[in-house]
């Protein structure tokens, strides 16, 4: 009988010491939240600044999965129209993608001249050419940018600090790969496809 008592005692001990952790992870799992609030001053926002729905992407221009998610985001934007504001933040995985930082700097340099979104879209639509900086430069010219300034700012890594700040903000918010989406401030752990994103956006409205 004493054996049973020990067993019971052990079980109680296990319950008190270990179970909160297990219960927390198994049943009360909560996806991480966006730690850095969206602000019109700092963020790249597509759509009405005060839209009721917010989709934030932490992305890497060289990541193929981000490339695959790019048309999905376009579908979400088309579907939800002016209800949605889409925010893009940099999360270049430089140890995996050698051109990711340069591409992010390219988009930020275009942003300095008011053309972030055209350049952002161009980079995702021409992912295969990321190693060749003349391609983005050609597009900058086409956009009517001051290409001298554009080239200088990229070469001098003017926006690297901002990009690294984006990255660390993402890390603190639980970004765990690219792309990572936040739907109205909560990390989206489901698939990065239009259907799942639209569903999540309309559920957490």
């Amino acid at each position: 009988m004493s054996g049973t008592t020990t067993v019971a005692r052990k079980r109680t001990a296990r319950k008190t010491l270990l179970e909160p952790t297990s219960r927390e992870t198994a049943e009360k799992y909560q996806a991480p939240r966006l730690e850095i609030p969206v602000t019109a001053e700092r963020d790249h926002i597509e759509g009405p600044v005060n839209a009721s729905l917010t989709l934030v992407e932490y992305g890497d221009y060289q990541c193929p999965y981000c490339g695959a998610a790019y048309p999905e985001v376009k579908k979400v934007q088309k579907e939800l129209g002016s209800e949605l504001r889409f925010v893009f933040r940099n999360f270049p995985l430089t140890n995996m993608h050698e051109h990711a930082m340069n591409a992010a700097e390219t988009a930020e340099a275009a942003s300095a001249q008011g053309k972030f979104w055209p350049m952002h879209d161009f980079l995702y639509e021409h992912q295969a050419t990321l190693g060749d900086s003349s391609v983005a430069l050609g597009y900058a010219k086409k956009l009517g940018l001051d290409t001298q300034r554009f080239e200088r700012e990229v070469a001098q890594h003017m926006y690297q600090k901002r990009i690294k700040d984006d990255f660390m903000g993402g890390v603190r918010s639980g970004v765990n790969g690219t792309p990572t989406f936040y739907v109205n401030g909560v990390r989206h752990d489901e698939d990065a496809i239009a259907k799942a994103l639209i569903e999540a956006l309309s559920h957490t409205k």
Binding site: V7, K10, R11, R14, L17, L18, E19, P20, T21, S22, T25, A26, E27, Y29, P32, E35, D60, C63, P64, Y65, C66, A68, L93, T94, N95, M96, H97, F167, M168, V171, R172, S173, G174, V175, N176, G177, T178, P179, T180, D189, D191, A192, I193
Partner: protein
């Protein structure tokens, strides 16, 4: 699709009710007058009740982290006790070579400078063998030891409550251990969820906040 490990380890088979309830169930005793069909089963001796460790119970804060000595290269071992005096992050993970362009460990390699600000050391552990680890670490440019919990398979993972018997892999579990070898934070990710680095950084920060108070 996400550029992380969800694709491969997306099995959502997280056991909410674990083996404890099954094995803990009292073996039914049949009354002598019940001449049922399972006569042979009745004649078997009553086995002692076994306690099977819950798969989803990782060691919690306040516990002393079990020491270990595991291979980081074919001829080098790394022991937890080697790092006494500095914080240690343990990252148990299911397998090398998840078919994605980044995963949990690649992310940690990038966040390493932040961990270093706390003088913390990161050790990654899975049941893969050392040759797989070496190739994996080289390919993903990992800048921390990747340890093989290979023989006896998963024995250290088991000690931390971070082993999945059915699958035969380590669970995706994180531990932050203080300079005295005491676990200060632990986290078990639901299946298929890459935990990221935010929890580790918060735990290291909280430890830093708590420490000056302890010294007074």
């Amino acid at each position: 699709m996400l550029c992380n490990v969800i694709s491969l380890h997306g099995r959502r088979t997280f056991p909410l009710k674990t083996s404890l309830t099954q094995t803990g169930k009292r073996r039914r005793m049949r009354k002598p007058e019940n001449k049922g069909a399972a006569r042979s089963r009745r004649q078997q001796p009553l086995k002692a009740k076994k306690i099977v460790k819950k798969v989803d119970s990782v060691l919690g804060p306040g516990k002393t982290a079990p020491n270990f000595s595991l291979n980081s290269t074919p001829d080098q071992k790394v022991s937890l006790n080697d790092f006494r005096g500095q914080p240690v992050i343990l990252a148990f993970y299911p397998a090398d070579w998840s078919p994605v362009c980044t995963d949990q460990l690649s992310l940690y390699a990038m966040v390493m400078p932040e961990f270093k600000k706390f003088n913390a050391e990161l050790l990654a552990i899975s049941v893969d063998n050392i040759w797989s680890h070496l190739a994996f670490a080289k390919d993903r440019k990992l800048n921390f030891p990747v340890l093989a919990d290979f023989e006896p398979k998963g024995s250290i993972s088991k000690k931390y409550g971070a082993y999945k018997e059915k699958i035969g892999e380590s669970a995706r579990a994180l531990f932050v251990i203080d300079d005295k070898g005491v676990i200060r934070w632990s986290h078990l990710s639901p299946d298929g969820i890459n935990p990221g680095a935010d929890g580790i950084l918060s735990a290291l920060e909280n430890m830093n906040k708590a420490q000056p108070a302890e010294k007074n």
